[in-house]
Symmetry: C2
Subunit: 210 residues, 2 copies
Amino acid sequence: MKDENSISVSKATILRMPVYLRYLRDEQARGIEYISSAVVARDMNASAILVRKDFALVSSSAGKPRLGFKIAGLISDIEKFLGYGHVMNAVVIGAGSLGRAFMGYEGFKNYGMNIVAAFDVNDKVIGTFVAGKPVYSMEKLPSFIVESEARIAIITVPKSGAQSVCNAAVNAGIKAIWNFAPTRLEVPSSVEVRNEDLAASLALLSSKLK
Amino acid sequence: MKDENSISVSKATILRMPVYLRYLRDEQARGIEYISSAVVARDMNASAILVRKDFALVSSSAGKPRLGFKIAGLISDIEKFLGYGHVMNAVVIGAGSLGRAFMGYEGFKNYGMNIVAAFDVNDKVIGTFVAGKPVYSMEKLPSFIVESEARIAIITVPKSGAQSVCNAAVNAGIKAIWNFAPTRLEVPSSVEVRNEDLAASLALLSSKLK
DNA sequence: TAGATTGTTAATCGATTAACAATC
DNA sequence: TAGATTGTTAATCGATTAACAATC
């Protein structure tokens, strides 16, 4: 079943795509036009066969023997594959230092996401701007999500408040939750949630230190 | 080869351990003493067989039929497995909003890491304190790493400066790099590096939004 | 005791890697 | 042309799942 619409692409494959994208954009910026899977693999410390398979998966035009792939084509193919064609609006919930870090990072636009506002319960930050983006009170969250057509909510509140702000966001129409609070969030099956578990990631690092 | 010292435990397994740990700590805080793998699996939306295998891997004392595992024992076994016995010192390189977010998060102590200081090139933040921890100039990095016996460096500088501060940290004796700059870092094979790729993680989320 | 739950061996599943013919 | 590189089928590898005897 090679249905074009089937989402049978593995998680690992999807995770590699933005890494290729960044690499290819860098190479393109250096003025390179064509690249072979072997070179990509060498530069990225990856398996050449895997790179070839990944490129074959997303590439609209075949690579040319002796020449490799056209970088510009690969970039737009990966962007298309990842759905970066139209940038989606996102809100940050919790304007603490982590939330503000996200607001200040311009790079997300290159990956299909545009943060338009943040929300907090702290009177001291409500009404302020971070990187030109407003911080509103939590009460405004539902109406703002509807009006801005935001699809993604980045949750950076403490553990105790995470589930309730998540529920509010989902009720207002959010379709994807990127959760940085140290707790698992429960959402309806129609909503995607990604629990970004920094403690788990740290474990992987420190486990290798024995 | 079932060598006790072999590091043949899969990445996926290690990543699950801190998640169990958090769950078990929560359950313990609720006053529960024993728990079965079936209950853990249900609560965590995981496979019961996988939970059993994971517990069998780390548990020093066998679980009891009808009763399950003693939570206190599991917690200390997982902590031991992950090497959380003695907390390791870490430094933050780059005291921007992301770096400050790490400095302010107390939870890392529960996962074996203690941030002792940050370093930056910006005169405005040098000399200040964040969450009681000092921000020093980059020049002090090498001597501080030696004196504090820091083993982990958390890199939160912009892409352009990442490799050079990484090199400085490695030369001073850092053994693990947790990299949040949007670039791959090259390190000697004796140093562990974990490139935390938020763009890739975002891709996984937005790809499901079609 | 009866039955829930464990620990472990075997089966399945899926991703990565190897091999190689096709081709520019 | 010769040879580097692609695309694809088959083999391997490793992780997850299933099955089931052991046991408290």
